[in-house]
Symmetry: C4
Subunit: 205 residues, 4 copies
């Protein structure tokens, strides 16, 4: 509070950016449920729900992926202690990708069993690939010369995070490439990547 | 703030996890309103709204149930003072169940008077049953060896909470079993459980 | 933080309840926009939008009413410094009314020019009437014997607030009664009440 | 906390107003995704998505515009340290404009290639124009006589902000005027304005 006193323009705390990002992550992840379709009366319910499996499959994959992004966003702010306008716009680009997730999820759910499954999966994994790249740009911008980092963050910390953040774009590039072979397989890659991350992150605790 | 200084990776505060969870609880509980259907012009309004009673009934049941979950989530963080990555993923699994609530509510509202009411109610109560089980896993993980608890939480506190948390899975298991007899009765069990909890919690204050 | 240390069960801070309520107010107020309908290609746009005036009218009325509720909820927490489980459930009942607003708004927008306008307006104003009554119960519960109030709140403060909170149920009772004469007039009463409140609150500042 | 103690009516902190506004900004920006339409099976997916470009174009324009508004709202609260009821209502008027954005975006996306594109774009840019004007009223109200500003905010700060806030209404007035020539061009002006702002704000950092 006092620190913003000297020059209110220059110094900005991270709290509201975190809250705004949290809200967008939370809404996007909750909006995924709108992709689920309640079968109307008349058709056998069991069969209708079983036929809807791509929607459940895509919802679960996207939920886990966005949850992991949120966990990482949360963790990144243990290092970042200041933000500036550039950071807010790069973070905004990240949030654009998050906001698009309910759409790409719905797209892949509706088309993963059709002839154009590859294109749908390419858009799905491609959006995550772009997200992974923006994430790396955001981190590079924040960490170069310790620009926005806390005083107690060491170079070793920075190198560890930088290495970890390479994983996402490489993984989603794989999923993107696989989409040209099989749309369904591409979504499976996204799910396996998320599952692998969740398990290793959990083991490392 | 200073405490995160020594090692930014290890120590994580609970504030953002609470805020993220709050947003998802709040959003899911608000999305329930989308299940309500505004009767179109032409049909008699009174009759149309009366015919819609399963939607109002399911909305109220889910609203109260999710509200109670939020109250419990809120209360749980009076004991939990630290979080780790495993906690975030278990909590994420909990939130997946919360996110699914508008779907399962809509499902049960549309089918509770049809021949497949039992299946719809089984999915509805089954999701709450899984939520109750995940909740117990989350609490066991947090409380074992006081892993994530505040220093002032006593063993007696832990035992009391542990006992309280058994109630949810047992109650929802009953509702789940009842769904094989009658879908409508199963939803009534969920409502009675929530109402009973609300009354006793209120009395105990 | 230290205060919750002595007995984590008994003492609860208000921050998360305020945040949860804020989120529900914010979502419900934003969901109102889903009632607006984008005219499809083919029909003349001007005419189509003009014909949609009941939706804009109802949206504006509900937006202002919910905004005022939020302002009052915000102000109430300048007095309330503690919460208990009963408060959380009464507050939850309040939030149920807020969550229903997008539905009642849509209902009144679609039916205000039809033969059943009175019923739609009765449901619309009746929900606000119930909200106003719950609000008074909540305040009575919180203020009786200074149960949940801050130490510095005087009896004079309490009496002033108590008097102010009578206005809402009386106003909405008027709107409810008027709905049996004219649905449109009833919605106008709700709008006038909100406008009158906004102007006087603003003047008093 | 202590400061609100002397007179709970007079003094109000800004935290909850910021949180409430954040939630509405975040929710409105996320609801933009509902304007995107998942092509149904049967039609060629590539063609269907290409034909949907106005929706992507409008979504991106609105996302960037609302993001910039949020950044400015965030920055404004580095100066504003107190709020009163008038501020809350003016801020509410601002939020009404934000809430309408998913509707105006959808309107312009559906009509920008049709004969009535001009009207749709006039409503789209006109809403932003009104938002820009309310913003200036809000700032004037807050800054006149340093009414709601922090003690350390200088007259020079105020003049700088006041000048900056003129840009929005002038820009959106241009977009509004252009809408009478070409609807598509008007949306392009809104996008260019946002892009220009983002680039200059980023350069100035």
């Amino acid at each position: 509070m006092d620190t913003t006193g000297t020059d209110p323009i220059e110094e900005k705390d991270t709290a509201r950016t975190e809250a705004f990002s949290d809200a967008i992550f939370a809404f996007a992840i909750t909006l995924l449920v709108l992709d689920l379709y309640v079968p109307k009366a008349g058709s056998p319910l069991t069969q209708a729900l079983v036929n809807e499996w791509p929607s459940f499959f895509a919802l679960f994959t996207s939920f886990l992926t966005v949850l992991i992004m949120w966990v990482n966003h949360h963790n990144m702010f243990h290092y970042i202690r200041r933000i500036d306008t550039r950071f807010m716009f790069l973070n905004g680009l990240l949030l654009l990708g998050v906001v698009l997730t309910p759409f790409t999820t719905s797209l892949v759910a509706e088309h993963v069993l059709l002839a154009d499954a590859g294109l749908a999966a390419a858009i799905y994994s491609g959006t995550f690939l772009l997200l992974g790249l923006v994430w790396n740009v955001l981190w590079r911008y924040s960490s170069t010369g310790h620009r926005l980092l806390g005083a107690n963050v060491t170079d070793e910390h920075v190198r560890t995070i930088t290495r970890q953040y390479y994983v996402a774009p490489i993984s989603y590039l794989s999923a993107f490439v696989v989409s040209f072979v099989s749309g369904l397989l591409s979504v499976c890659v996204v799910l396996v990547v998320a599952g692998f991350y969740a398990v290793t992150a959990t083991m490392a605790t």
